[in-house]
């Protein structure tokens, strides 16, 4: 202990410092509410004044610029988000969870450490670069492989989103598997279980909730992703009928149209309403994932 502790000044300053720390700690709550408040506030006049909610959720026509009769239906945009997210989930959840099992249970320790670093780097690649890869690299590949006229479509966007969400699923899933106490493993091995039996019969049921949360977080990331889908899924506002149709997602709509919308106009406010919708969706996903994880903590008592 090199310093002398109680100087009079330090004692006077202490309450101030402690309150600053408290305020910073609570700031996260403040920011979440602030985000909700400011996004909601910009869209509120339109939401309560002019927007027909039935049209908003059931119409496929998103024509905010129409001079005759602007229409604000987000059904096609929701379908766009859902289709890309679904494809990404189908690809990334099995791959991510499989990789989590492999890294946590089957890998030698050394390989595990380096694999985790690679996965971490994969997670660090910015979304605009993923969009660029979809737009420039995957685009011709998709055309070549499927014969589609345009290579930026659901397939392209789904693959890109899957590559983006796999690292999250994997690292959260691996944490969930690591959280299963080693006594479970030892007991299973003592009974003569092979490693696969151990995984299948013991670890998967024990880590079920954590793995579910991992999948949810990965899906949440796909729903909220903006730049990658903006560049890789095309721009057609439509209900897709095949994997090779271009679609437009909720996030991409905001990103591509807010710059052109007149500040304070109906179109501008409608985009903020979409933002509120996205915020609510991400809240639901995150709170669900959180409750699912907390669920095991409560029961397990480890």
């Amino acid at each position: 202990m090199r310093q002398r502790f109680s100087t009079r000044l330090g004692l006077l300053a202490e309450p101030i410092i402690e309150w600053t720390i408290r305020l910073c700690g609570w700031s996260a709550i403040f920011f979440v509410f602030a985000i909700f408040f400011f996004v909601f506030r910009e869209g509120a006049p339109f939401l309560f004044g002019k927007l027909d909610l039935t049209e908003f959720f059931t119409s496929v026509n998103w024509r905010p610029d129409s001079r005759i009769r602007p229409q604000y239906g987000v059904l096609a945009l929701i379908a766009g988000t859902m289709s890309v997210t679904l494809l990404a989930a189908v690809l990334s959840v099995p791959a991510g969870l499989g990789a989590a099992v492999f890294v946590s249970e089957f890998c030698p320790r050394r390989v595990r450490e380096s694999l985790k670093i690679v996965i971490e780097l994969l997670a660090a690649i910015p979304s605009v670069v993923w969009g660029f890869i979809g737009y420039m690299v995957l685009n011709p590949l998709v055309i070549w492989a499927t014969g589609a006229p345009i290579g930026i479509n659901i397939l392209n966007g789904g693959v890109i989103l899957a590559l983006m969400s796999v690292p999250i699923i994997m690292s959260v899933g691996e944490d969930a598997l690591r959280a299963v106490p080693d006594t479970y493993r030892e007991a299973a091995i003592a009974l003569g279980a092979s490693r696969w039996q151990l995984v299948y019969k013991v670890l998967l049921p024990a880590a079920k909730n954590g793995l579910l949360a991992a999948a949810l977080l990965g899906i949440g990331r796909s729903v909220g992703e903006t730049m990658a889908v903006l560049m890789a899924t095309g721009h057609a506002v439509q209900i897709p009928s095949s994997l090779l149709d271009p679609v437009r997602t909720l996030t991409a709509t905001i990103a591509s149209e807010l710059g052109e919308a007149v500040e304070g106009g109906d179109h501008y406010q409608a985009l903020f309403v979409i933002g509120t919708l996205l915020m609510l969706m991400s809240l639901v996903v995150n709170v669900t994932a959180d409750l699912v994880v907390k669920g095991i903590r409560g029961k397990q008592n480890v």
Binding site: E18, S27, I29, I133
Partner: protein, 314 residues
């Protein structure tokens, strides 16, 4: 866990089958091998695309990459030239977001690990951090427009964009600070308390110095996150093009706090989707510089962590 060899457990005990695998065990081992193979392939299937993609990017960017690519401005309506102006813009944004997010984030981490009790208030703070991390980036952009650009009257500026990035990357710093602090053993604090030190004195003289490298790791991660993000700066401060001097002192500080700026990530978006006639080398070159920047910052952070683990004395 060591390699487990399946011990045959068969119903009838005879000298032949006791130490050799029976049909059931053979099947068990086969299933295990197949499972390990499939899972291994799934893992490799994630790593290979990364390597393949990086190779393609670097190969296509190679002809364009040079020192002058970094130090020249975009020319000819952004179809040629270098990336100096966006590169400096990115440094501006990262610096501002770091200056805003680091103090708040570190103190918030201190609060969560040192002050918060085990009660519902803490649970709400936890929930808020998780949700803040999960808010879609484009919603952060809308928040930035509503709060900083319009409400706070910053206009579309470097400052507004930096603040938006700061809010977005705050959870990264909070979470890693918290982890770094919780790795400091409780006994350190107890020893300090016993000498009559107050809570803050303990934190300042014992806890923070022992956790500083872990905190730095989180700060470095925040930098990499902030450098790569595009959506939050779209409507809060980034623009297509700003004429910036290439020579002299002014080239290092070209933007004022209230100016709009170019940014590397937004520049990549622009030249690959909005501007026609850009040479491939410039597009791929910009992408590679952006990846290189982000990944080298990340490797720095990983290196830090490995060094830390090796040095740890408790």
């Amino acid at each position: 866990m060591s390699n487990t060899v399946a011990v045959p457990v068969t119903g009838t005990i005879d000298t032949v089958s006791r130490f050799t695998a029976g049909a059931v065990e053979k099947r068990k081992l086969l299933v295990e091998r197949v499972a390990a193979c499939i899972l291994g392939i799934a893992t490799i299937g994630m790593v290979l695309p990364l390597i393949g993609i990086l190779t393609v990017l670097v190969a296509k960017a190679w002809p364009a990459l040079s020192w002058s690519f970094l130090t020249q401005n975009p020319q000819n309506y952004m179809t040629a030239g270098g990336i100096w102006a966006p590169l400096v813009g990115t440094f501006y944004l990262v610096f501002i977001s770091l200056a805003v997010a680091a103090p708040i984030g570190v103190l918030a981490g201190v609060y969560m690990n040192e002050y918060a009790g085990d009660n519902w208030g803490t649970r709400i703070v936890n929930m808020a951090v998780v949700n803040l991390a999960g808010v879609p980036s484009i919603v952060h952009a809308l928040f930035g427009v509503g709060a900083f650009v319009l409400f706070a009257g910053m206009g579309r500026s470097v400052l507004a964009a930096g603040c938006t990035l700061a809010i977005m990357t705050l959870p990264v710093i909070i979470t890693s600070t918290r982890e770094a602090l919780s790795a400091v053993p409780k006994s350190f604090r107890e020893a300090c308390w016993n000498m009559g030190a107050s809570r803050w004195q303990t934190i300042r003289t014992i806890v923070l110095p022992n956790a500083i490298s872990g905190i730095l790791t989180g700060v470095i991660l925040q930098v990499s996150r902030a450098a790569g993000e595009t959506a939050p700066i779209l409507f809060t401060g980034a623009v297509y093009y700003v004429a910036v001097p290439e020579q002299g002192l002014a080239s290092y500080l070209p933007y004022g706090l209230w100016d709009r700026c170019m940014a590397l990530s937004y520049h990549l978006f622009t030249i690959s989707t909005q501007v026609t006639g850009v040479t491939e080398g410039v597009q791929y070159g910009t992408a590679v510089v952006l990846i290189g920047l982000v990944i080298s910052v990340n490797i720095l952070s990983i290196g830090f962590r490995v060094y830390l683990r090796a040095r740890k004395r408790w």
